[in-house]
Symmetry: D2
């Protein structure tokens, strides 16, 4: 790979990506463009501008953007239409943000004539894969640089030395090792590493950054109503909201009631197991609610098909294949199923749990006329069940007869 001339860097303004910024300049002598995004991680962005300028980035090369609405509308919501859960439990909060960051990095590279992008993910994790597969799928000619896999700054000391030598300011609390590593966006906060590395040890309470401890949550359950249109949440308690506002609002409900904590050991795409603590307050509520509205608006054939392909869809997102033909094909299937997923769900929030307790819709397929224990006025003829069962049983009966004959 020839040396890059101009690189768009995913830049948080923090110590690590500042070191990367400097390293790119010194290692490759290349021009650096910084991209800092508000994905709802809860940090101010303007300090990143100041820091980038201080590190010699030209003002026109500093991109700072609020992409929360695009994030929720085009990534989070499509994923929730599928009820996507990785390995039974993980709501994919980190996985779903990476493709969007890559997309903007590639777009900015194309706008600014850069020939490469760079990210701050290490060589052990999934994020490097997600960044680089997305980039390859969006523009096959743009290089993707992963400094953590290239440089020899292999210890904390080496990093700090490099920072000092290059006049990168080091916040006091960054001198020592952080007790764990954090990723955050509007959908979730994840914590992993160091104090969490033994999955047999209970995680300390202080790794939870986003939700109150259920023990400290209100002693009274709270009820909310979420309204869906074509599979997406559009209103809370009757109040219409933009996608990002829906998620922010649910996050606040979830935070308050201690909802969405997950202590999890997962299988990384690169072949190892890792343990993380995830907090997905709003997303956990949203998933429950979406299942609730599908219960009355989705036909069983549609629902069972969705359920059967969901694990594969979730795995694709986890592994970084958002921009792949197979994810897009599955999305087409899922979106087709959501045309009538419209209606309202009532949920109860209480000390760490969220439960659907009622749901209604003009699009409901629930037929009280059919299911009633009372007189159904001929809606359903119970005698039909005899034929239904007899023919479903026919092959089992032939099988049993064969097996008995051969005994």
């Amino acid at each position: 790979m020839s040396a890059p001339k101009k690189v768009v860097l995913a830049y948080s303004g923090g110590l690590d990506t500042s070191i990367i910024l400097k390293w790119l300049q010194t290692e490759y002598g290349c021009e650096v463009v910084t991209f800092t995004a508000d994905l709802g991680q809860g940090e101010e962005l303007e300090p990143a501008r100041a820091k980038a300028e201080m590190l010699g980035i030209k003002p026109e090369n500093i991109y700072i953007e609020d992409i929360r609405e695009e994030f929720v509308r085009d990534f989070v919501f499509p994923m929730f239409r599928a009820n996507a859960v990785y390995e039974g439990l993980y709501l994919l909060g980190t996985s779903i943000a990476r493709p969007l960051i890559s997309k903007r990095l590639v777009e900015i590279a194309e706008e600014t004539g850069a020939d490469a992008i760079a990210h701050g993910a290490t060589g052990k994790g999934n994020d490097q894969v997600r960044f680089e597969l997305s980039s390859a799928a969006l523009n096959p000619d743009i290089k993707c640089i992963a400094p953590w896999r290239e440089w020899d700054l292999s210890s904390r000391t080496a990093l700090l030395d490099f920072a000092e030598k290059n006049q990168i300011p080091i916040a006091k609390d960054k001198r020592g090792e952080a007790p764990f590593s954090v990723d955050a966006n509007l959908l979730h906060t994840s914590s992993e590493g160091r104090v969490l590395e033994d999955p047999g040890e209970v995680a300390p309470e202080y790794v939870h950054l986003r939700t109150v401890n259920p023990v400290d949550a209100p002693n009274t359950p709270e009820e909310i109503e979420i309204t869906f249109e074509k599979g997406d949440a559009v209103a809370i308690n009757g109040l219409a909201m933009s996608p990002a506002t829906v998620l922010e609002t649910l996050n606040e409900y979830g935070r308050k009631h201690g909802i969405g904590r997950l202590d999890f050991v997962e299988n990384r795409f690169v072949g190892m197991k890792s343990r993380g603590v995830y907090e997905t307050p709003g997303g956990t509520i949203l998933l429950e609610a979406h299942r609730g509205i599908e219960q009355i608006t989705l036909d069983s054939g549609a629902g069972h098909l969705k359920d059967s392909i969901m694990p594969r869809y979730a795995e694709l997102i986890y592994n970084g294949f958002w921009f792949s033909p197979e994810r897009e094909m599955l999305q087409a299937l899922i979106d087709k199923s959501q045309e009538h997923v419209t209606g309202t769900v009532k949920l109860q929030l209480y000390k760490g749990s969220v439960r659907t307790i009622a749901r209604w819709s003009d699009h409901s397929l629930y037929s009280e006329a059919h299911v009633t224990f009372e007189d159904d006025a001929g809606a359903y003829d119970q005698k039909d069940a005899a034929g239904f069962i007899t023919l479903n049983a026919l092959r089992l009966r032939l099988l049993a007869a064969r097996n008995r004959r051969l005994k």
Copy 2:
């Protein structure tokens, strides 16, 4: 179908199956054998014997059995190895009991020379299907009688009239309509019908028979440890227990902490949607724990394959195909995966929720040496990731190049 001569009836001792018993005698003039099973539904069985005798059943034709251990060992546990959940949420508590009842009915028919079995399920539900498919698969020559689909006792009044005419005692509280219908066994209690028929109305608290309201559960979280061997729970807090005792013990923990309540609208196999309130206290804890132990002992290839076939497996059980070649094939696949699912999970129970908070095992595949943020002493070479990603990206890059070329 010629008239049956001797029928084995699934007999609870209650009003409805007593009416069925009498109806079989009068309609077909046949001998009736009663089978009353303790599946953990929490009712005394001996009154059923007295009642059967009173209705003229010969003592040698009265079968009363405690089949709780067989139920948990051969039905519940194999199902939990698969993490089986129907339509995302339902733990299949009713579905999994029916095949065992059918199995005993058929076996007793073979022992007593009966040519038919009979059950008390209506023509609208799934249970008729489960009873009859199981029976067909186990003995193709035995008839299966479903009085609710045959007789003309179509109203409560007609039933009570029939009972009175036939000297069947009617408990006072059975004079009126029950406000909802209940099924129970060691795994769960389900409630449906009448007051629950509008899925837009919140279920009244009194339909919950098996768990305390989370609001009334202890204010302090409780921790328990469950130990697994080859996928099955074998001990709680270090105390070895039989399968049924494991489930009973977990039921008590779940009851106390208000765990396992589900308000659910599901798709019945016969084509309609129905709404039920399920309480699965011990099963909910068991599912969480099983997932927890699989997280460290199951390889990702095995786990993802299991996840991908689970919806089909659950659907088969729900639809009544326990005794089918395809369920047995899937079971072979699942059981093969459980050889090393051995170890211990620590869980926190608190006000309606259960969460895995730690897990450990001699069979663990978790490698701290590989995943650590610290120096990994060469266990993992981050440069390998570059090749891994490059080749995973190759097809996406070729695809992107093709698509750009044609634009």
Copy 3:
């Protein structure tokens, strides 16, 4: 079910459907509308008009239509985009025609104010299911009448007696039993029953109506080229054609070279096995060609996903669920994959077999630069494979280490 007042009958003009026509009139005293379609079965339609008139059908109630283009464009081609094959071998020739017939029956019922449709399929086969599920999905209020399941004309003699009594002319060759039963349309001819009922007996040559015996086919192979656009065949040997003309032309090639014969025992949806002889000359060529063009234009992720859902898609069509949400969802997925399935395939036809021997496309993903045994000018770095394999092997290595440790 109340008696129908006006019924649209799928009418072939043959003896059986003429008897049904008369039976509907006499049994229900209802008005009958006839629908006779040219689906490429190779029979004149005008005699059906004369016969319908003779049986007292009003001219405005006689519908005769050529629906071959709609059949191929909207049913056959979408199905072939999926490479749909039932149980490994059957190209679904009968299955795919039924939904279209139902669609027209229902549309005509709506136009003419009829409250029912009727078909001539028996109670043992799949076609009744296909007609009736389609009809239910298209208009839930229209009844569907299946005279073969209702009447008591249970023997050939009874049918002929009914015909004679009702002045229905009986062709000489219909006096005796046909040696087998036939269904035909532009996609295939199927033969089943009577002389074919023993699957251990070789089918007589005379049941093959549509293809020459491969032994009698030309002694010289013939090459043809089929061009595809977005997954559909649009030209043969460079000559652009309409969908139905493409299939007719391929049928002629297939017929001549003895291509597309299948002797098959299949599982009917109603639970029994049946044996049929199918001839699908053009379809067999088309399937091979479609696979051939996908080989170079479809990405592996897309192709493997398609392959994995194909059996379910084929089963849905076989079972009669063409007009179901899940078939439509799968179709959305499949169609999404076909956007670049454009190019040309060269095939060799010879004595019963068809083989792709070359294929080319502007949309090709095949990269000679990458795959070449010669110098690839840096397109592919073989060292990347080491990292790719190492990480794919990591979990297997951890697994092997665990298993060895426990031995």
Copy 4:
């Protein structure tokens, strides 16, 4: 990776693996053990011994083995139980041989105290992956060396120079480039590269090494009978045979009739497409026959489940995951289905094609009593179909009503 001390090399005796042998000795100064296997590739093995000795291998380090029976019994037959086909057409002839070779290499390494194995596959293909994943799964501590990815012998000239410098004899016909590359074993011969690299060019006849051109095959069809027991072929024309003899015999039939030629563009696991010409004469017959016997002995539920997982199973084998938990889980599922796949199939072989024309079995599930067009003596009540269809249609009817209501 530290330098290996003793390496077991998969050694064919040919020029390329002789160069590798020498390179290992010179590059690493290590002891080399050679393993030469008869997998039915049709070459004498003893010359490999002489050549190994000449290159300085100690006699006790030369392993030469006939592993054809193990190959067919433990690898080919289990795979054929699944009707495994990769990407619709490829019978996995190369893929299935690699795990066995790896298994023996690892076993010999363990016996001889070697710390590494080596193979002659290049860095562009699938075989490197298959060798190395198998080795990692069987013994995580043994290194796997792929000289083609390591050395700098990047041109034919460099290779020949190395051979000359090291006194490796070069056969005359190896001086120039071969026009294509070949892999062969008892199941198939594959040809790829050079003259085959343009998939738009028809392959020359001379690349076909294993089958006569169908045009030159006998002008008269030939019938054979294959008998299966529990899914495996055990006899041909009534003559019991060992697994390898079955396949050899079918190969001879297939060769003679020009059966099993495939011109194919496939997706390699490493991300590129490649074109190959495959000849699988016996395997093609065996697949057709296995499907034929399953048609009457396998229940539809079992068969459809098998069909639905087959693409994944085939992909696992193609990608090199034979020794993985998920392949073993799928094998458990498949093997479970084969318990009654016992019986005989009659096939017709003729000029490139093989067709099942009859099949019979004591284990047959085919019921003439049920399917017959004649009087079925009450085996099947056609009225049952009405209930069966009504309940299958119920959800479609509710769906149609909902959709019409909202229009």
